[in-house]
Amino acid sequence: MTDSVWEVFRQEDEGDAMTHAGSVRAPDAELALHYAREFYGRRQESTRLWVVPREAINELDDPDWLKPPFDRSYKRPGGYLIKHKLEAAKARAEESP
């Protein structure tokens, strides 16, 4: 069997991110696109499809790299709790113009 696995990505509306939809098995990219169209586009639910040979995907899922156990909150907006500081600063601004 010379079939191989192709990962399928679809874009729902123009401008949306390409999201992983699933996979198909096909002997070449052209047929992979035909299958992808049948499985992920026959209800007009996609504006664009990508097929990518599965071997082309390089994966990283090592938690030591992706979820290290250190506090990374300073990298996120939610890591800055400013409500009370803002109130205090405003109060001081009113006290001493």
Binding site: G22, S23, V24
Partner: protein, 305 residues
């Protein structure tokens, strides 16, 4: 960590809601269980189109013919998506098809029965698909993530099938006495298989598929959910459900019903249903007749290589 410790921590993780991807390490019993589950599901989608296919040429209008053809295409598509999921667990698709045709693997009981009138098409698309969607919705939480993701897409398509079936039934129920009688007759024949479809209640403490969260709801819970939604919808049309015992028990908070015929279920799914052998034979002949297509596709790839 040795393999048994590794397995213990794996089972603890899936029991707590953890997700497994195709390339993740998994214990052999888990792999075997998920493969068996998905393979049976794929077989059922593939065989499930045959009863409905019989009606494509006899559909009463062009729109119905298009809708039914589209449903049949969807179900074959579901089979393809599910065989894809199963293949990644290590069993080649050709082997799965061969085992199905050889009667070594099973498909759902409801697809072993004959269809007798156009009303059957409505009852199948409405109620068989409804009973299936109740369990498929619960499978969107499966611990095996590729299966759970596929189930989201499948459920979305199934909801169209149910509307198509309900529309067929409603049209007949608004028709002549003869048309209404056809629906009642179809319901009378399909009710038994529908009640058997989710399988006998299992002991949740011993059901591995539940413990490992391959599925998230037990057989009886699924049947109860199906009854809660669909009994009122069937009765409001003036249809009679052919089970004198069927009633909601307020005290127990559950539906009470006549014991489904579990012997019939066992006999049917092991290939002794009224249409089991005929449908498998159709698939065998069909597979032989379409071999040239597969040869052409493989030949094309070989020529390009």
């Amino acid at each position: 960590m040795d393999d048994s410790e590794r397995a213990d921590s794996f089972y603890a993780r899936v029991a707590a809601g953890g997700k497994v991807e195709a390339d993740d390490w998994m214990p052999d019993p888990y792999r075997a269980a998920i493969l068996k589950f998905v393979e049976m599901h794929a077989n059922s989608e593939l065989m499930g189109v045959l009863p409905e296919r019989e009606w494509i040429l006899r559909a009463p209008t062009l729109r119905r013919k298009l809708a039914l053809t589209s449903k049949v295409q969807d179900e074959v598509g579901h089979a393809q998506l599910l065989y894809r999921v199963a293949e990644d667990l290590g069993k080649p698709r050709e082997q799965m098809l061969q085992d199905l045709l050889d009667g070594k693997t099973k498909f759902h009981n409801v697809f072993h029965y004959p269809t007798e009138s156009w009303a059957d098409v409505g009852i199948i698309a409405w109620l068989v698909d409804a009973a299936a969607i109740v369990s498929q919705q619960a499978l969107r939480d499966s611990s095996y993530a590729p299966y759970a993701r596929t189930m989201k897409k499948i459920c979305w398509e199934e909801s169209v099938h149910i509307m198509h079936g309900r529309d067929v039934v409603l049209t007949l129920m608004n028709g002549t006495d003869r048309q209404r009688a056809l629906v009642q007759n179809a319901l009378d024949r399909w009710w038994g298989p529908l009640m058997q479809m989710h399988g006998p209640p299992t002991d949740p403490a011993r059901d591995k598929d539940l413990l490992w969260r391959i599925k998230s709801k037990g057989n009886e819970q699924l049947r109860q959910e199906f009854l809660s939604i669909y009994v009122p919808r069937i009765r409001e049309l003036g249809l009679r459900i052919p089970d004198p015992e069927l009633r909601y028990d307020d005290g127990a908070g559950r539906w009470h019903y006549s014991e489904p015929d579990w012997d019939e279920l066992r006999s049917v799914v092991t290939g002794h249903g009224p249409r089991s052998q005929e449908r498998l034979e159709f698939r065998r002949v069909n597979r032989a007749l379409t071999q040239w297509v597969r040869d052409a596709i493989i030949g094309r790839a070989a020529a390009a290589a």
